[in-house]
């Protein structure tokens, strides 16, 4: 795809236009083997032999014919004693709190007849501000995971809770009496009351110590900030520099940061509208979600990280007249420019680093102090509690365990055997510990090695509180009674301490006394939040030990290294792997690589060439063997444009072995490859890293080049800020046609001689929307590609998970996908430039869903009128009328229609969310579960529209703007999606379109005149207009 200035591509294969790619591009529905090894014909995409299929079909037809004669008797079973506030078929919403380790969000839980079916952000919270990540959206499905423990286990066998308690109390008593050490190993605990419970436990067993660690540790950052994690506010920043911190995707509290970041990126084309943007520099090893959204981006190798920070320090220091520090220099593009901007916007600048090395973070603190960031963009006065882990404590614990010095250990929702680099050592040491207890929800890698499993309840079944930020509280209340015989760990700890095990009561007592009454307690539970205090006055931390830090950096980092290095990263969709058995997350493509169901070794194109790895099209790739300091794994490799050369990157979160069907043996576990710098875990390894091809081929489920854009020109549009300031229509692609009078621009108005109005020409009468005209605007400038909308859509619309093989077969069912395009500044004609295009391309994300065209090409080709247009501007899809010709998908220019190849529910081949009674509890009863043989696509959440309209009609009024929200718009952490009624003059969308119609708004491929009801806003990069190729600035410092 090209437009007037740039060439866009979605993968290397598309850029090079390899024959394999071309072959696949023309096969819209993918291919599947047509015969098995015995040569028997197969049914498309399955292992069913065609003959067998016909036999079954014959039986099926007669069975159906017989069954049709008599209607099955359906039972209607009412409540025996209906709870007063539950009205069947009417949803109830409860405020609660999502907590997974240190990940936090205040949520609203939608329940139907007592079943939670969807979580959405609680906008009342001033901490999470109603934003949820993909993982939080998916968490509702984890509630109904059938592979969780169904009760207490003793020695791997089901046991009575009472017996388990008795034995545990006896064993704890024994350990305590002989003075044995007891440890509670946990991830960050956000709940103050849980900490109080642990305090009670410690009072009873004084040899107990709480060991906190985080799988994605930031303990280096905490150390450098004097033991606290300051809160960052990107919304106040004019210049943002991130050195390896994926703060929009995975770093600390990404949804919160994404919201703040977007505030500084939102522009408005109306006269007097905001036309200023922050400038975002990203220096990193891999192409992260954040890097993909940065204005300027450059790469470094993990071994250079410390020196990049010192180089930035020196660049700034020399500009502000401070003392520079002595360290080796590195050659990193844009670094000096970043320093110039940071200094220019002093007081509104922020530098963050993803490094876990306290020495590096100390320099970052020093930089931020120089820039006056503390007190404006960084607030040390109201620290956050998201990460409290200490790598040193955890290392000490593992050493003690190995030495046999631990008498008892309780793993409180922590799985270090899997997610700690020294997990294997811990696994060996565990048998030496007399009493091992795991409260993890399943008998996972750690839990299965423990004698007692006392499973904790899911957060949707629990009572709890949380203090994500000092003085900001949030509450968890159960939205369903425990599904299995699980018990909250707080109750367990209270019971084992010999106290009353009723944690709900305990929590209530604590809060009633601190709030001063039951009414107040009920109110905060109802609101889900309690925010009594803003933080104390911000104090600027002392930069202590800068010299030591620099010395340490000089020792640990190298300016130049030819060696292969390993980068370990966290995927936006999978995180640390705590929810790995969640099929929604497994199938959600990672924003940048667009790969799902597993991890892989990523290398740059140059490195791939160096290693003689010839990548073919996205489905078939080569298997490589990555060995790090002697540890070896085999996994498929992919070429990742924009990655640092001579590095290989592997994601954590995969390679679970005891998490459940969806997670087990999907990918490999990358945690053991992490190294240690300054006593802290570093997600990189600069040791002996060898990558070589094994000679085998491998497949990756990757959606990036499914549904090619063919030769369309105006799919994504972008410009730079300076051009936009001059002309709000900068970057807009204006399609033109050749007429007898020469080339003319297509316009809706026929304004001048250069324009021609072809948009008014139509074969159809057009549609008239008297009532509502639903529409959507997606701002490409604030969309970060985080995929929260994708998972939210899945959960709202009962979208089937199809599994790895079916994704490989190009049959994923997502109604909403996020297209990711790479582009380069090189001239379209410049072949040589394109060769290097993949070195560091620009990235643009584009959420793509049914465009609800007013001249919909799908509607005209349906032979059975299963897809029609509504009087409210929606393109409707009627499943029960569809006969599956797939003409509509063929004719859809956006390729947003999905064909249901199989029955993805109640079928053992698709053993994901809909294959057991428990999993089906998550189904949204307002939306049909589609069967095989029908087309499906985005319905613009018609069920929500209808429900919203009905609510308004019942109250005898018009719907209020914002009252009806579609799932994707609701879930967007950056508010990039605006949904509403374009007929309502007061609505947000009308205002936005009024401002942008003569500005940034465009319809995708508008030259084909399908008139979509979804508009996109041009992406704007805060870059210099004419990009001067900076061949890496060389800055020499004494």
């Amino acid at each position: 795809m090209e437009n007037n200035t740039k060439r866009y591509w979605r993968g290397i294969e598309e850029l090079t236009n390899s024959p394999e790619f071309v072959k696949h591009a023309h096969r819209e529905f993918g291919d599947a083997p047509i015969a098995n090894e015995k040569g028997e014909a197969l049914i498309d995409g399955t292992n069913t032999v065609r003959r067998d299929f016909l036999k079954v079909l014959g039986f099926g037809v007669s069975a159906v014919a017989l069954a049709a004669c008599e209607a099955p008797i359906k039972k209607s079973i009412p409540y025996l004693n209906k709870p007063e506030d539950v009205e069947p078929t009417i949803a109830n919403w409860y405020a609660s709190t999502f907590i997974d380790g240190g990940d936090y969000a205040s949520v609203l839980v939608k329940t139907r007849e007592g079943r939670p079916i969807k979580v959405e952000g609680n906008k009342a919270s001033s901490v999470s501000k109603g934003a949820l990540s993909a993982r939080m959206q998916a968490s509702v499905l984890s509630l109904y995971d059938n592979e969780k423990l169904k009760g207490a286990l003793i020695g791997g066998k089901a046991a009575d809770w009472a017996i388990a308690d008795k034995e545990i109390i006896a064993a704890l008593g024994k350990v305590a009496t002989r003075g044995g050490q007891i440890r509670i190993v946990s991830n960050s605990i956000l709940s103050p009351t849980t900490k109080k419970v642990i305090g009670d436990f410690i009072a009873k067993y004084p040899t107990t110590k709480l060991v906190t660690y985080d799988a994605n540790s930031v303990s280096g950052l905490v150390q450098a900030n004097g033991g606290i994690l300051p809160s960052f506010d990107f919304s106040k920043a004019k210049t943002i520099v991130s050195i390896g911190a994926d703060f929009l995707g995975t770093w600390i509290s990404p949804t919160e940061f994404a919201g703040q970041w977007a505030k500084t990126r939102r522009v408005n084309s109306a006269e007097g509208g905001n036309k200023e943007m922050s400038r975002h520099y990203q220096f990193e090893t891999i192409m992260s979600n954040t890097g993909a959204n940065a204005d300027y981006r450059a790469t470094y190798k993990p071994s250079q990280e410390g020196l990049v920070v010192t180089a930035l320090y020196n660049a700034i220091a020399s500009k502000v007249g401070g003392a520079t520090i002595s360290s080796a220099s590195v050659k990193i593009a844009h670094l000096d420019k970043a320093a110039t901007d940071l200094v220019a916007t002093k007081g509104a600048s922020i530098v963050v680093s993803g490094s876990n090395d306290p020495a590096v973070q100390t320099v970052v603190v020093a930089i931020n102090v120089m820039l006056g960031a503390y007190g404006s963009t960084i607030d040390a006065g109201s620290p956050v509690n998201y990460r409290q882990g200490s790598d040193a404590e955890m290392t000490a614990f593992i050493n003690e365990a190995k030495a046999g010095q631990i008498g008892a250990v309780i793993f409180y929702n922590a799985n270090p055997v899997y997610n700690h680099p020294r997990g294997a050592e811990l696994a060996e040491a565990l048998p030496k510990i007399e009493l091992t207890i795991s409260t993890n929800d399943r008998a996972d890698e750690t839990g299965s090695l423990c004698k007692y499993n006392t499973p904790d309840s899911h957060y949707l079944e629990s009572w709890n509180d949380a203090e994500p930020k000092r003085g900001f509280y949030s509450f968890t209340q159960p939205t369903i009674s425990t599904i299995f015989k699980t018990r909250q760990t707080q109750s367990s700890l209270l019971t084992w301490s010999g106290l009353n095990g009723d944690y709900a009561n305990y929590l209530e007592n604590v809060w009633v006394s601190s709030l001063g009454g039951k009414t107040a307690w009920s109110k905060v539970l109802h609101d889900g939040i309690y925010e009594p205090a803003a933080g104390v006055a911000s104090n600027v931390p002392q930069t202590i030990g800068l010299a030591d830090a620099v010395a340490s950096i000089t020792k640990n980092y190298k300016a130049n290294s030819d060696k292969m290095e390993l980068a370990i990263y966290e995927k936006v969709t999978m995180g640390t792997g705590s929810q790995a058995n969640n099929p929604y997350l497994q199938e959600c493509p990672e924003p940048v690589s667009k790969a799902c169901w597993g991890n892989y070794a990523m290398v740059s194109l140059a490195t791939a060439k160096k290693l003689s790895l010839d990548q073919e099209v996205e489905l078939d790739t080569l298997e490589v063997e990555v060995s790090v300091n002697g540890k070896t794994v085999k996994l498929p490799f992919i070429v990742q444009p924009g990655q640092a050369n001579d590095t290989v990157a592997i994601a954590i979160g995969y390679g679970r072995t005891k998490a459940g069907k969806s997670a087990n043996n999907v990918g490999i576990n990358a945690y053991p490859f992490a190294s240690v710098i300054n006593g802290n875990i570093a997600f990189s390894n600069t040791g002996d890293v060898i990558v070589k091809a094994t000679g085998e081929t491998a497949k990756i489920a990757r959606t990036q080049t499914h549904n090619t854009v063919m030769a369309r020109q105006s799919v994504v549009q972008e410009t730079v800020l300076s051009a936009y300031k001059k002309n709000v229509e900068a970057g807009r692609f204006k399609p033109s046609v050749l007429t007898s009078e020469g080339k003319k621009e297509i316009s809706a108005e026929n304004g001048n001689k250069e324009q021609i109005n072809t948009t008014g020409v139509s074969l159809w009468n057009g549609h008239k929307y008297n009532n509502h005209a639903w529409g959507m605007v997606i701002d490409l400038n604030t969309c970060t590609g985080c995929a929260a909308c994708v998972v939210s859509c899945n959960a709202e619309n009962n979208i089937a998970v199809v599994g790895r093989q079916e994704v490989i077969n190009r049959r994923e069912m997502h109604w909403m996908r996020i297209d990711r395009y790479y582009s380069s500044d090189a001239d379209v004609e410049d072949a040589k430039g394109l060769e290097y295009a993949s070195e560091n391309p620009e990235v643009i994300f584009q959420p793509m869903l049914c465009q609800h065209c007013n001249n919909a090409p799908c509607e005209t080709v349906c032979p059975v009128l299963a897809t029609t247009h509504s009087t409210e501007g929606l393109n409707q899809m009627t499943y029960n009328r569809c006969i599956g010709t797939r003409y509509c998908a063929n004719n859809c220019p956006y390729k947003v229609r999905r064909f249901n190849w199989f029955r993805y529910y109640q079928t053992d081949e698709y053993d994901f969310q809909f294959n057991n009674d428990l999993g089906r509890m998550v189904i949204n009863p307002e939306v049909t579960v589609r069967s095989r043989g029908v087309m499906e696509k985005c319905s613009m959440c018609i069920q929500r529209i209808q429900a919203g309209k009905l609510e308004a009609k019942k109250e005898r009024r018009r719907p209020k703007d914002g009252e009806i929200q579609v799932a994707c718009a609701q879930s967007c952490p950056t508010d990039a999606i605006t949904f509403g009624d374009m007929n309502d003059e007061t609505s947000e969308i009308t205002k936005l379109l009024n401002a942008e119609r003569k500005g940034r708004a465009f319809g995708v491929i508008e030259e084909i005149n399908v008139k979509p009801n979804i508009s996109y806003l041009v992406k704007i990069r805060n870059k210099e207009e004419k990009v001067v190729k900076e061949e890496g600035e060389v800055k020499e410092h004494a």
């Binding site: 025996l80 009417i90 009532n771």
Partner: protein, 404 residues
């Protein structure tokens, strides 16, 4: 005699008109009282002397002062606890079953309920007269239907006559054509033989054979299609329920408001089958010993919900929302469910096919009055046409109104 009859009719009319006007005046005051009474009180109290669960309320305004009644309704327990003799006696008389408190109703509202009860007593003649009139309407209706039948039968008769006439013409013509001057015997051939011969001739006629075959095929085809269309349609379906609950008794005789049990019908998608605790509101006092009621007790004891058999089954692919039709559309329950109040066993009265839904959406006018949601739509519609705004005019026939 006829004059007498006429006079009687006139006087009856006059009385009716009088009562009607009285009733309409009173109705202003009593409408609210009636509403409240029917929704809350009628489950346990009758307006007559009859004891339902609690005492009959006839003459209550004479028996007790209004202040007492208000206090009692607001909080019966407090009145009993205060040692009020009348209250304590009442409590003991009715097996110490306590009346539900209604603290939400104002004194004025309670007074309006009493006014309604009193009006029922004074209007005791009116209902009788009303009954006659009310009875007349269905009678007219049924006579209308009967008339239709007569017309049909008459038409059929005419058609038979026409057929006979035509046949006789045909036979005479055939006769004329076959009779030759030299075969006088022709006329002497016995009738039966002639019919047989003609029959033979007819069966030999290929055109006739084809026609007959076509006719039979068409008939069979039609029968098959008709029955095929009937698959999945369960009009008249009246399954046996685990408990022999009679709507005729509850909704008909006792006039319990539908929403008393079907709590969701104005609020949400489902009308809701009542939970056992709703049954227990009354049946913890009335007819406890009945074997059917015992079943409810048993299920409560065993903690097993009652498995009612679903009568109205819409396929999962169709979305139907009660509130849209009852609350917004203002439709009566009987519109789709038929005369439930007369059904001993509930049966499916309507076909519930898509054609049936669509048909209604074509015909029905939008209940737009007093609903600001529709204001602009009505205005737009009226500017274009004089036809009333029907459901189909606002997208009521669109697929995604029911299928998503």
């Amino acid at each position: 005699m006829t004059i007498m009859k006429r006079l009687k009719n006139v006087s009856l009319m006059a009385i009716l008109v009088f009562f009607a006007s009285v009733a309409s005046v009173k109705a202003q005051d009593n409408a609210e009282g009636e509403q409240i009474f029917k929704n809350n009180c009628s489950t346990c109290h009758a307006v007559t002397d009859e004891v339902v669960v609690g005492p009959g309320l006839k003459g209550i305004s004479q028996r007790r002062p209004i202040e007492w009644i208000v206090t009692w309704v607001h909080n019966p327990q407090a009145v009993i606890a205060s040692g009020d003799k009348y209250a304590v006696d009442l409590y003991n008389k009715y097996n110490k079953a306590q009346m539900t408190a209604y603290p939400g109703y104002s004194a004025a509202q309670i007074t309006s309920v009493i006014a309604y009860i009193d009006a029922q007593v004074t209007a005791v003649v009116a209902p009788v007269a009303g009954a006659v009139v009310a009875g007349a309407a269905p009678a007219a209706g049924s006579s209308n239907g009967g008339m239709m039948q007569y017309v049909m039968i008459a038409l059929l008769g005419v058609m038979v006559l026409v057929l006979v006439a035509l046949l006789s013409i045909v036979s005479s013509l055939t006769k004329l054509s076959t009779i030759t001057p030299d075969s006088i015997e022709g006329q002497k051939i016995p009738l039966l033989q002639r019919i047989a011969e003609n029959g033979k001739k007819l069966t030999a006629n290929s055109a006739f054979k084809t026609g007959a075959a076509l006719l039979i095929t068409l008939l069979i085809g039609k029968a098959t299609l008709d029955s095929a269309y009937g698959i999945g349609i369960h009009q008249g379906y009246a399954p046996e329920q685990p408990i022999q609950f009679s709507h005729k008794l509850h909704a008909g005789q006792y006039e319990i408001n539908c929403t008393y049990c079907h709590t969701g019908v104005y609020k949400g998608k489902g009308a809701n089958i009542p939970s056992a605790n709703i049954c227990m509101n009354c049946h913890n006092a009335i007819k406890r010993e009945s074997p059917e009621i015992q079943k409810i007790y048993r299920s409560l004891e065993k903690d097993e919900p009652i498995q009612w058999v679903r009568v109205h089954n819409l396929p999962d692919l169709a979305y139907f929302n009660h509130a849209q039709h009852t609350n917004v559309g203002g439709l009566e329950c009987t519109n789709c469910h038929g005369e439930i109040a007369k059904m001993e066993v509930v049966q499916q009265r309507s076909s519930l096919t898509m054609g049936w839904c669509i048909d209604c959406h074509r015909k029905t006018e939008v209940n737009a009055k007093g609903n600001a949601y529709y204001d602009k739509l009505v205005e737009l519609h009226n500017s274009e046409t004089k036809e009333p705004l029907k459901v189909q005019n606002i997208g009521g026939l669109e697929c995604s109104k029911c299928h998503y």
